[in-house]
């Protein structure tokens, strides 16, 4: 049961982020979508897509994005299970940065 999905996506300018987010939000098991464009090229744009829901079907998300002409670069975060577990900082993270 996936509850949160963070994707790095490459998409054409059209369909717009509004249409993409709307299409994703209509999928079963999806309760909310957030799309942020962080890089714009002449033909394409990179977007970070955060999807929240009760039971997100990754395959249907992938299929919808492909239908919209977009491709998933990477799956950056997945939260699954009965409750969402947030990322926590550990001493190891701190030492890794140092």
């Amino acid at each position: 049961m996936i509850k949160r999905l963070v994707l790095d996506v490459l998409k054409p300018h059209k369909p717009s982020v509004v249409e993409v987010s709307e299409a994703l939000s209509h999928l079963e098991g999806v309760e909310g979508v957030n799309v942020i464009i962080y890089e714009i090229d002449q033909q394409v744009e990179n977007a970070k897509i955060v999807i929240a829901g009760n039971s997100i079907d990754f395959e249907s998300i992938k299929k919808m994005l492909e239908e919209m002409g977009a491709t998933i670069h990477s799956v950056d975060e997945v939260a699954a299970g009965k409750r969402v577990v947030e990322e926590v900082r550990t001493p190891q993270d701190r030492s890794a940065r140092m």
Binding site: K14, P15, E19
Partner: protein, 195 residues
């Protein structure tokens, strides 16, 4: 997804609305001008049978419709294919079955239909008086006058429409389009006088 919603999405993505508007005006104008030429030519030779105008008008309409459809469809298809190829290169993936590819194919077909139907639409309106005249609703001379008036009115209205979409003086744009029709009429009337 509902059919109409799909169409709306394709129109939005392919940005075909302004292109089809251009095609519509250009070809409806062509249709009206062609029939105007045929009708005035018929007046010059003083035809006695309305079916001469009807059949030559329908022949021209069919030719304009088919050439409009084929020309616009093939041109749009080639342009859209070129754009899609460039986009596929940037995306490093095939987009033929995505909404972008489908919208492109829809846009070509849509532009073709508009380009084919618009001259036929204008031409059939201009030919209508001859259909009525063939059923003895009024005389052939009146049908000629009415048809010329209709062709000139269509030209004026297309100009008005152009003025409206460009937010300029609608009457001025209408008059500019009308002038073309008047020039054709005038040239033919001069020819008749020299006969």
């Amino acid at each position: 997804m509902k059919f109409l919603e799909k169409i709306r999405r394709y129109i939005k993505i392919s940005e075909v609305a302004p292109i089809s508007r251009r095609y519509f005006i250009m070809n409806a104008f062509d249709g009206a001008t062609t029939i105007l030429g045929i009708v005035i030519g018929a007046y010059v030779v003083e035809i006695t049978n309305e079916f001469w105008v009807i059949w030559s008008g329908l022949g021209a309409t069919l030719a304009m419709g088919l050439s409009g459809f084929a020309g616009a469809y093939m041109t749009e298809e080639a342009e859209r294919e070129k754009k899609l190829n460039a986009l596929e290169k940037s995306m490093l993936t095939e987009l033929t079955n995505s909404v972008v590819g489908k919208a492109g194919r829809f846009a070509s077909l849509w532009a073709g239909i508009i380009d084919g139907v618009s001259p036929a639409f204008a031409a059939l309106i201009c030919l209508a008086p001859f259909f009525l005249s063939s059923h003895d609703v009024f005389s052939i001379n009146f049908a000629i006058q009415l048809s010329v008036a209709m062709a000139l009115s269509i030209m004026f209205l297309l100009g008005v429409f152009l003025g409206k979409i460009s937010n300029r003086n609608m009457f001025f744009h209408g008059a500019k389009m009308l002038l073309v029709g008047l020039v054709i009429t005038f040239i033919f009337l001069l020819l008749k006088m020299t006969q």
